[in-house]
């Protein structure tokens, strides 16, 4: 894609991906993260062996032996939403600009920088207008304006001297190309080593419960096996189980 105006630079490298025919631009997916809410009185168990998890899940209810009594809990497989197809189109935005030219040594936090830019470009005397949206990007900041015409006006002026803290910084406003999702397909993917334990009765406190569950799920006689990780969310609390992409 050729754009006839300056955009921030990103260093790229050739890693050997080469092929004969030109297809649609390929992409790299990174920083994958999924957060799964865990209600109070639940636990997540990660087994070393996915077959063990499968076996454990064959019984919907497990009776866990705790000294003189039994704890009845439910187990469930863990399925996470995964993006499988993404189609995004881009177009010039009438209401947004890209502000760039920030010096590397700028000592402002994201929030401070965005605030100062919003203040400056929010003033009509500077050629700006009501800022509706702001986003920090790599090498620049995107500002979205409520009214039509503001963005064009700012791009026409081009150069601005903006007070950022103690410095007066020369910045540039240029057209912003924005993206729209045309299609996003999300599929459910099973986490093969995971088991969700639900409806754990409130009879034990955290650390004790953790031990009891670990012991139970490691018993081969109950179809259990080596446990890689086990986390309990006690009743009255809430948790978010965080998953990321396996590297390598």
């Amino acid at each position: 894609m050729l754009v006839p105006f300056p955009v921030p630079e990103v260093p790229l490298v050739f890693r050997g991906h080469i092929q004969q025919d030109r297809e649609m631009a390929k992409s790299v997916i990174s920083k994958l993260q999924i957060s799964y809410p865990l209600p109070g009185g639940s636990a997540v168990v990660i087994f070393d062996d996915p077959n063990v998890a499968k076996q454990v899940l064959q019984q919907k209810e497990h009776k866990i032996n705790v000294e003189e009594f039994w704890l009845r809990v439910q187990v469930q497989p863990l399925e996470l939403p995964m993006l499988t197809t993404i189609q995004v189109s881009s177009q010039m935005s009438d209401q947004r600009v890209l502000v760039s030219g920030f010096p590397a040594e700028l000592k402002l936090s994201e929030e401070e920088l965005l605030d100062k830019l919003e203040i400056f470009f929010g003033k009509t005397k500077n050629g700006g207008g009501d800022v509706e949206m702001r986003e920090l990007l790599q090498g620049g900041v995107m500002l979205g304006f409520a009214k039509d015409g503001v963005a064009q006006r700012l791009c026409q002026t081009g150069q601005f001297t903006v007070p950022l803290g103690k410095q007066q910084v020369p910045l540039r406003a240029s057209p912003y190309v924005s993206g729209t999702i045309q299609k996003a397909e999300v599929r459910s993917q099973l986490v093969p080593q995971a088991v969700l334990v639900l409806n754990i009765p409130d009879v034990l406190d955290g650390p004790e419960l953790q031990d009891i569950l670990e012991v139970h799920f490691q018993k081969p006689t109950r179809g259990g096996g080596e446990v890689e990780a086990l986390r309990v969310v006690p009743l009255g609390h809430r948790g978010l189980a965080v998953f990321t992409a396996k590297s390598g």
Binding site: M1, L2, V3, V7, P8, E9, P11, L12, V13, F14, H17, I18, Q20, R22, M24, A25, K26, S27, V28, I29, K31, Q33, I34, P37, L38, P39, V44, L80, P81, M82, L83, T84, I86, Q87, V88, S90, Q91, M92, E135, G139, G140, M142, V177, S178, G179, T180, Q182, K183, A184, E185, V186, S188, V191, H237, G239, L240, V242, F243, A245, K246
Partner: protein, 331 residues
């Protein structure tokens, strides 16, 4: 008196001359102005044409830029259990990832790409310009240049799958609005059908659709009933059919379609200009014969690994001896 006459004549001449001179000046001034106006008009036309050309280029560029990606299955691992910061974090399963386009470069016949471990080495190789590389029994003069790259896009995708809401569609238009809303609530709170305690119902009679919000995680029961690998699909104007659900109206059972309530957002979208810092373009291999790409790549690798050749640690080499190929640059 002849003297006076001559003087007078001279005066007259002067005046005449002055008049003519003034006229000339005026005339010249007009001419000059007209010239200027003409020039400015010409420039204006040229500039307008250029603006139109650039605008067309821009339209072309942005129309053609699309990311269309099928993402292969990624293995997931458990990281930790955190405390949710807000209620909204707790009511959705959240997915997020960053997508960054690989920028293609058409590697022509006779060209090669070499990626060094260190940026400094790459820059030195480019600075040197000419390199004489021994390729088997031939000494080839190669030119090292920076790789001209186009722009790419990068953005974040955020997907929120609600644990408390479900989409309902294909609701028959056979009851007044508030009555249908009640019927929906009654049908969806029946746990024997997989329902749960309903907090609210948003019903759109015209489209025959509704969003049912359950109390806490009542919705998961409904969704759990929809077993198997469920494809959730969000198009701009379509909803994929999923499992159906019984809606009871006056002794009749109507099947309505239920699907997860999903919101997808794009964040931090930006166009960037690709700059190859560690990769160098080598040219000069157009006339190589009786050799294959792999051999040439090996020789290039060996040559540029050597510090005495101005090189350093090499990560990858690729060359094109026949057909041109597309090399992809990534972050």
């Amino acid at each position: 008196m002849p003297g006076l006459e001559i003087m007078a004549a001279n005066e007259d001449n002067k005046k005449q001359a002055l008049k003519e001179c003034c006229l000339d000046e005026e005339f010249t001034q007009d001419e000059q102005n007209q010239k200027l106006i003409d020039e400015i008009a010409k420039e204006n036309i040229l500039l307008t044409e250029e603006i139109q050309k650039l605008e067309a280029e821009l339209q072309e560029a942005t129309r053609n830029s699309q990311i269309n990606e099928d993402i292969p299955e990624t293995k997931i691992k458990f990281t930790s259990v955190e405390n949710p910061e807000s209620d909204s974090q707790f009511s959705n399963i959240s997915y997020s990832c960053q997508v960054s386009s690989k920028v293609p470069y058409e590697l022509q016949k006779g060209q090669a790409l070499i990626t060094f471990e260190k940026e400094e080495v790459a820059q030195n190789v480019i600075r040197r310009g000419e390199h004489y590389v021994q390729l088997q029994d031939v000494n080839v003069k190669m030119m090292a240049k920076p790789v001209p790259l186009n722009s790419g896009v990068r953005f974040q995708v955020h997907v929120e799958v609600s644990k408390m809401k479900v989409n309902v569609t294909e609701i028959p238009d056979i009851l007044p609005e508030s009555q249908m809303r009640d019927k929906l609530e009654l049908s969806f709170c029946k746990s024997r059908n997989g329902g749960g305690e309903v907090e609210s119902v948003e019903y759109d009679k015209q489209s025959g659709s509704a969003v049912i919000t359950f109390v806490e995680s009542g919705g998961t029961h409904v969704l759990r009933k929809l077993n198997g690998a469920l494809p959730f699909q969000l198009f701009a104007d379509k909803i994929l059919k999923m499992k159906d659900y019984p809606l009871y109206i006056n002794q009749n059972c109507h099947r309505v379609i239920v699907s997860p309530y999903t919101e997808t957002h794009l964040k931090k979208f930006q166009v960037f200009s690709g700059v190859a810092k560690r990769t160098v373009l080598l040219t000069g291999m157009e006339n190589l014969q009786k050799t294959d790409e792999e051999t040439v790549e090996d020789f290039i690798n060996i040559h540029f690994q050597r510090e005495k050749n101005g090189g350093g640690e090499v990560e990858v080499v690729a060359c094109s001896l026949g057909q041109s190929q597309i090399a992809y640059f990534e972050e």
